[in-house]
């Protein structure tokens, strides 16, 4: 049951990211100057006239421009328009009464729209970085495990060194050593590379341990006797044994990288405006002192992150074997690290 829930949460997040331009009511950078920090529009089906209607919304009327307080203008019902102008659903009167399912931010942009586009940025970055970490980790771990000797010592020494340091500080130092203002594409590549480097050592350590122990088994000797060279032995015979470990680590790295992006963006080292990511949205939200007391909808990226991480945790949770593999492997990795200290 809980596993299904976890898978459903992940599926929703992926679907939202994939269909963002269609599912979002607005463009990513569309803003409504008269609706700064406007609260979420409520979709009604029962009007003031005690009759039922097709889903509709009310317009926000400004009560106080200075305090950014709004109230529903109940005089006219604005119907929703489905499948219009290339969007799944939007308001029939976009200019006067836009559909703001999660309110507007302090530039008057639709938070729901940005949440969907932010899912694209955040998830794509996390998945890219995790795959990068896998490529680096598996190749270095495989080579170290197969060759042994001085190269093994060197690679694993470097891996241990990176692993002992708190990851977010390494990412922070590397990120701020580069120009603070970069384009969105550069930031994406840079963060993906940094996260891949920081995440790779755990995979490298585990893969190395598995390759080393598998190598002593009979089937590896048989393959070698049949004339398999080192590369074939590693790629066709030894690395497949590490598949389960790598899959679990990969799944664990994705939520870690989502949070890492959010942390770096939160402190202002992430994506530039107007690109939406969950971290930059939180960064924008934090610029207003009133966000916690008066504009809580600006924190919805935090809720989205929680649900995605929860989804991953639930998916891994019930497969006890997966959980214990992770536990064991991590502990082994850690013992390896400590024996070197």
């Amino acid at each position: 049951m809980t596993r299904g829930l976890g898978a459903a949460l992940i599926a929703i997040a992926l679907l939202a990211a994939a269909t963002a331009p269609l599912a979002a009511p607005h463009a990513m950078d569309a803003h409504f100057p008269g609706l700064l920090n406007a609260p979420p529009t409520v979709v009604h089906i029962a009007g003031g006239d005690r009759a039922w209607h097709a889903p509709f919304i009310y317009r926000w009327r400004v009560v106080s421009q200075l305090e950014q307080r709004y109230e529903e203008d109940r005089s006219t019902r604005v119907p929703l328009a489905w499948f219009s102008a290339g969007h799944l659903v939007r308001s029939a009167d976009e200019d006067a009464a836009p559909l703001l399912l999660l309110g507007a931010d302090n530039y008057g942009r639709d938070v729901f729209t940005r949440l969907l586009f932010g899912a694209r940025t955040s998830l794509a970055l996390a998945v890219t970085a995790a795959l990068g970490a896998m490529v680096i980790g598996v190749s270095l771990g495989g080579i170290a495990g197969l060759t042994g000797g001085a190269l093994d010592e060197l690679l694993m020494g470097a891996a241990d060194f990176v692993m002992v340091l708190p990851a977010i500080y390494v990412a922070l130092a590397l990120r701020s050593a580069l120009p603070l203002v970069l384009t969105a594409g550069q930031v994406f590549a840079l963060l993906a590379a940094i996260f891949a480097v920081v995440g790779a050592p755990i995979i490298a350590r585990g893969v190395r341990a598995i390759v080393r122990s598998e190598r002593r088994l009979d089937y590896a000797a048989a393959a070698q006797a049949l004339g398999a060279n080192d590369r074939r032995l590693l790629v066709r015979h030894l690395l497949p044994a590490a598949r389960g470990f790598v899959a679990v680590q990969l799944t664990l790295l994705v939520p870690a990288f989502i949070i890492a992006e959010a942390t770096l963006s939160y402190v202002g080292l992430g994506f530039p405006d107007p690109v939406a990511s969950w971290g930059t949205m939180l960064h924008d939200a934090s610029s207003s002192v009133r966000v916690f007391a008066d504009f809580p909808w600006l924190l919805s990226p935090a809720a989205a992150m929680f649900l995605v991480v929860l989804g991953v945790n639930l998916t891994l949770q019930n497969s006890r074997s997966a959980a214990s593999i992770v536990g064991r492997a991590d502990l082994q990795v850690w013992r390896g690290v400590k024996s070197r200290l």
């Binding site: 809980t2 060194f161 002992v164 340091l165 708190p166 990851a167 977010i168 500080y169 922070l172 130092a173 590397l174 701020s176 050593a177 580069l178 120009p179 603070l180 939520p255 949070i259 959010a262 942390t263 939160y266 402190v267 202002g268 939180l282 934090s286 916690f292 007391a293 809580p296 924190l299 935090a302 992150m305 929680f306 991480v309 929860l310 991953v312 945790n313 639930l314 949770q317 214990s324 536990g327 991590d330 502990l331 850690w334 013992r335 400590k338 024996s339 200290l341």
Partner: protein, 322 residues
């Protein structure tokens, strides 16, 4: 054991030197320096040259590094350009704040996580273990960044606790200590709750494994009460795997406290390092990184000694190797 300790101290020194040197280099090689960052577009060429000479930024990177290293060997970490104060004073002040936060969080996490892990691991069914497990899975999905945002949100809505900083501007009734503790609740809990969930899960798994061991059955057959078996015998056997994780936790604490310090404006090492990196205050960057590395080295050392105290086999195995 002495050799082992010497090795560990040598490694700690290497770690601190390497980390602070690397971050000094990184910050020095980064585009822009403190003068361009602080003067911005206002800086004339002459003003920039003058300021650079004042801070020693006109020297070559090799000379600068050598000067810094020889001074650092005498524990003189240079001056912060941004604050105009010795880096050492700044660091020790901020490191103490981070230490308060980290120790409080670790204590809180242990006090919550371990007993709950023992309870959920020693009972098979029932409402309590189920509730504890569910709470743990939820908290595991809330890393410190999210937990601190959530707790700040709750505190801002209810007004129960202060949401930012470490001290009130004026000392309120009840004294400075109570004031500090009230400010400490949100950031410490934000780090402690996910950590407590992790400790609970580990302890629970270790506990249920320990309860399957023959000595539990033997004790039961001798008529030892179940609660005594759980809280004395099995707990002692099950503490080892959890204790082994404490070394890892130090890094998690530092990473977690970075996010929390920024969200709750706790004046610690993490927020200081962020400021230093952004303004290219290179000596302060090196100092912060070194202090962080020192934390890490001390933490792992303490956790190893604690592990040896719980499980003599651990120290035997290690002194063989060393």
């Amino acid at each position: 054991m002495t050799r082992y300790l010497a090795r560990r101290v040598a490694f700690a020194l290497f770690l601190v030197t390497a980390v602070s040197s690397a971050s000094l280099m990184l910050a020095r090689l980064a585009p822009g320096d403190f003068v361009t960052e602080s003067l911005g577009v206002l800086g004339t060429r002459q003003a920039i040259e003058q300021q650079r000479a004042r801070y020693g930024l006109d020297k070559s990177i090799g000379v600068q590094y050598r000067d810094w290293l020889t001074a650092a060997a005498r524990l003189d970490l240079g001056y912060s350009m941004q604050y105009g104060r010795p880096v050492r004073d700044l660091i020790s002040e901020r490191a103490a704040n981070t230490a308060i936060l980290a120790v409080a969080a670790l204590a809180l996490a242990t006090l919550i996580g371990l007993p709950l892990g023992v309870i959920s691991g020693s009972r098979r069914g029932g409402a309590l273990p189920g509730a504890v497990r569910a709470a743990s899975v939820i908290l595991l999905s809330m890393p410190p960044l999210l937990t601190s945002l959530f707790l700040v949100f709750v505190s801002a809505r209810t007004g129960w606790l202060p949401i930012a900083g470490m001290r009130s501007p004026a000392v309120p009734a009840g004294g400075a200590l109570i004031d500090l503790l009230r400010h400490l609740v949100v950031p410490a809990a934000a780090i402690a709750l996910p950590l407590a969930a992790m400790l609970e899960r580990l302890q629970s798994q270790a506990m249920s494994e320990a309860i399957g061991e023959p000595f539990v059955l033997a004790a039961l057959s001798r008529g030892v009460p179940w609660s005594r078996i759980v809280w004395r015998g099995a707990l002692k056997a099950a503490l080892r795997p959890t204790a082994a994780v404490y070394g890892l936790v130090i890094g998690t604490l530092l990473s977690g406290s970075f996010a929390v310090e920024v969200v709750t404006a706790w004046p610690g090492l993490g927020s200081l390092m962020l400021q230093a990196l952004r303004s290219r205050d290179i000596y302060l960057v090196a100092g912060c990184a070194g202090a962080g590395a020192l934390f890490l080295a001390c933490g792992t050392l303490v956790s190893d000694v604690a592990l040896a105290a719980i499980d003599p086999r651990a120290s035997d195995a290690r002194s063989d190797r060393a």
